[in-house]
Point group: D2
Chain length 370, copies 4
């Protein structure tokens, strides 16, 4: 029986503070603000430490949604999962993707096959010394399973994208660990972002049975052959626990959308992008497949750590003027944009243990014909 | 009768000063330095005004070739056409492409169809006040026809890529024009590069009959609907005339290579890239076509001047941290790299009148099976 | 008789969205929010077109002040003049300077000499075709005189810094002018910022008698010898008129602060910075002058348009990786920071007609001993 | 008795490949190429890993000097110490400083006081696993003493600037160490540059008695209170040993130049710059001191690792668009340029153990009146 209905809509933005598109849909009744579960966005900052477009976008959305939800902006931020990925290099276009979930309407008897489903879960708060280590991995794995349950997904093969928000270390947090006589995985705030992202991704891999559960602390950021094919993680200063968003297909969903994915083995893996499109019945742009429509693509990108792509040297890691994450997003965004026929896709950087080294997961959501 | 043999080889470089790959091929006899006609390279600078990797690469090549040609480095620079395009953003990989031409050997009777041919020509020196205007257009058109003759190409449809080096204005040159009572097209050195590139590209379009010959000065950089589908132009401070390199197919060539092209209508035009590959018998990577092999792809890229790609806003033109040319090369390089299966492709920025606004020509050279 | 009391306080910020410092002072009663007339801030973006830290900072301040003023955030933005200058390169430190004005308390009889005063005025809305031209110059001059009146300043020699917010052109505005059969000064949005800043600065120069009033449209951005020694202008998209803030000394002010200024003739004019400090009784850091304290320094910086500083070539204008405004702020910020003993100074870029080419005004506010 | 004569001349360059200034002086006889001992230069690259202007400048100088010295370019590079520092941010101006040494002429009897002297020495080649550790420290200390002897300097107080070129690790070198069963200080090529610079600077400090000789491996890059007040070190890929250049004053020199120094405790330490100028009889620009003339200033700059300068937050370390070394050079270059009255000064980044954290040494060479 179809119990939930999941909606997803991509909305272009005119700037990081622009909420007009979402407000118009709420005012017209197209979106019920109470149904909003998560918002994934691309904002036009540099995607680095000093990218303030992410917090600005979240602040603008929370302030705009607050009166509609009769909550304070702070309460909105706790209720809805906002994940903003900075960096719209090249053809990438700033936008937000809004996920809603509600009870299924009557009349879903005609819906066939598994449909798009979304589930969420939180871990407990972590101690600073747990970040980037086995505790974060194990707790994340547990939360992924809980989110699968929330999404009505039993089979790991039905999970196609797991987006995680995770904490990072600050000097205060590092000191607090030290006061307890404990050392953190790193003493660099910037470096801790990679540790937290990596451990979170490994947690996804453990939960889905992609790797064995006995991951050691030393494997994080070192054993590059351990990875999840569907994890996408980003760290932020505003929380001390992991927020897990599972996207997949479920028989309990009456959604008119479907999700699929593939894994890019490197940054020029056009075959993987085509396979991901194909998995939801789409082809290379312009998509001719009758009735099916692309909603959005979600992918992770990174510069190959070994300095080359298919035997040819790349220069992303040696560029003192442009960070490698900006290079990687621009290039992978160009490829995916070209195959998708649009630059309004979610390509995010920093892919530790998210796909193989230099590659990353690529998931596609399609709207099915009525 | 096949009178000439044209060779082309792509050589990876370890840095802008690295000439070891070419020297190894000369030492082994694979390349006769006397046959070298032109070298097109991608160097790893920023591709902007202060990109010194281009002149460094040319200086290193001239110094290394000088003893082999029994010429001074300065004489080498005049004898061989060196065109260095700065900027290997994203997956783009630094390399040079060396074009050679020699008399055809005996035994070319079995060669079928038109084959890769190369021709060169020079315009007269321009006055500074002629740059970016009709004089430069007309003289370039004349030189393109001469280069076609040199290449043994009669039909404009057999021309697939025209690479041009053209002058730019300096304050000295602007003053010299002023002393004659004449105004230059612009008083900005940087701006003059676009004028010179644009007028040169229009010259190609006139020569090939792509547009009517009556181009007015006001059309340069303004009438965006006037363009050549095969022109690729770059301006440099070291010369006052245009150097024209025509690449096409000719029945007089005994080359084992073939060239084709298509036109990207925007930066995400995957169909055009696929068509260009297809025009020389290649498919999307990994190319399965029996016996045929990709040698290199030559393309121009630019940020769409209207600020959007297929209706979605891009942010390339508003980025104060990364120039739009770097964004555009990264994105188009990602797309072409993905479809070609290699980042060692020649994607160059600054595409005034070279393809439609936001788009550009894309040419492919393939090696035929023996 | 002393009729007004002007206060000024510099508050460090932890990020563009940080309002905690100001809120603490309001909560403690140190600042009455109703007295706030203007806020000048340095935010840590790139200071370019895509610097969103400025609007984020204004949005955060308006949202935080709204309940204290019983106004909506939009109304706060209209009531208080917010001028945010992006770019804290080098040692520059993000901060805001809050100016307050209230009726003078009793007991100002002992106050000697002219003291810090602030006045404001607005021009009428401009037509797009008036920007960067004589209409904007003349109206600005009129508003400067009105703001001087508001500040209780009669003698132009008592004016030491005039901060102006001015409009810019957008494509909509340019089209609107076209629909009326009129051409705008430029068709580039980015270029219009310089035109508007330049015309506004010339308006200041006219008002203060620094130049003759018969400025022609052609002089804007061309006649570099026409400039104001105290103008600091910045253009923004959110308004169509000029907001003028005059800072000077007045006998009607009972303020415990004093302002002075000098003009930097180039970016390394340490003598001018020392003279500006000296004009309010301060020396090179560490300031030993009894009782007097530095509050803040306000300066404009730009890369010398002729490409050299005192005969030595600079590379700011040719750098494709870092915009010249960022270079100039970093260098002038380093000099002023070194002489002032603090990086929390207001150094802003884009100095058209604001001081001589390559130079700019530098004003200093000091707190006098009790 | 005066046995040597040391000359020093600063020559502006028009680009990294420009050798015309030096060639003109050689052609005119002003410089005897055989006397050239060392060349310190500022080139206009980004100063980072992918700054090719340094090697381009060295290649151009070696090629140009080769015929004059009847050596191959490679031999020139071994004979003369070339130290190129990339990055001319802000007002910094590209130039080279050429140091020459020859036997003193007759008629030096009238020369009073200690005068500018230069000495050089080399360490033995290091094993990769020795870099950044006590072996490099001890060997460098020994070489500093040897270079002092070469310069005719006995008293450490007469040493005012020690410039060192030192090796870095590459993946090949790291593997070679591993093959011997040894671990290197770091496995990052980029990171090894800091280790090598730091250990070399500590070697200077040991040699001059600034710190005790018992430095442990763990102190390198960690014990920030250990530093030399006169060390300036830069690492390069082209050598496996340290080249040490000592600059000081000696009674055996008949030079018409004098050198002095001070230590900047932070990036805005104007007092230290003034003290350094004063130590050779110069004042703040414009220098009025009779007869004495500024030749050049040599300084190291870095962003304060604790994130603030005199209590105010700086944003250099969080900027993903501009590296902190570029910020720091721009700011310190602005301050020194302002006090010196010229941007043609040598300000170099990366100051590990070279001065206190966030600060660095600043040395001044003056020409004495005849």
């Amino acid at each position: 029986m179809r119990t939930t209905s999941v909606g997803v809509v991509r909305i272009a933005t005119k700037g990081p503070g622009d909420v007009s598109g979402l407000m118009t849909m709420i005012d017209s009744g197209a979106i019920d603000p109470n149904d909003i579960l998560a918002v994934l966005g691309k904002t036009e900052g540099n995607g680095g430490v000093n990218d303030f477009t992410r917090e600005y976008a979240v602040a603008a959305l929370c302030t705009a949604l607050a009166p509609h939800l009769r909550l304070s902006p702070q309460e909105v931020e706790h209720r809805i999962a906002f994940v903003m990925s900075g960096g719209t290099e090249g053809v990438l276009s700033p936008h937000i993707t809004v996920f809603t979930r509600s009870r299924a309407d009557q009349g879903t008897a005609g819906v066939a096959g598994k449909r798009l489903s979304i589930g969420m879960a939180h871990t407990r708060d972590f101690l600073p010394e747990e970040l980037g280590r086995s505790a974060q991995i194990a707790e994340t794995a547990r939360a992924v399973k809980a989110a699968m349950g929330d999404a009505g997904i039993a089979d790991p093969a039905d999970v196609h994208f797991v987006q995680i928000k995770c904490p990072l270390l600050t000097s205060d947090r590092i000191e607090a660990a030290g006061a307890r006589g404990n050392k953190t995985a790193t003493t660099s705030a910037y470096g801790s972002m990679a540790y937290s992202r990596g451990a979170s991704a490994l947690g996804v891999a453990v939960a889905l049975g992609e790797i064995a559960p006995d991951i050691r602390d030393e494997d994080v950021l070192r054993s590059h052959d351990l990875f999840s094919s569907v994890a996408s993680t980003s760290s932020g200063i505003e929380l001390m626990h992991n927020v897990v968003i599972v996207l997949g297909n479920s028989a309990s969903s009456a959604s008119e959308f479907e999700i699929g994915h593939a894994v890019m083995t490197d940054a020029i893996d056009s075959a993987a992008v085509i396979a991901a499109l194909s998995s939801v019945g789409l082809g290379i742009a312009p998509q001719a497949t009758a009735g099916r429509e692309l909603v959005n693509i979600f992918a992770k990108a990174e510069a190959a750590p070994n300095g080359s792509v298919r035997g040819f040297r790349h220069t992303m890691l040696e560029d003192t003027d442009i960070s490698s994450t900006r290079h990687a997003r621009a290039a992978v965004g160009g490829l995916i944009g070209g195959l998708a026929g649009t630059g309004a896709v979610y390509v995010s950087g920093g892919a530790e243990h998210q796909g193989p080294p230099g590659g990353g997961p690529v998931a596609v959501i399609a709207r099915l014909p009525d």
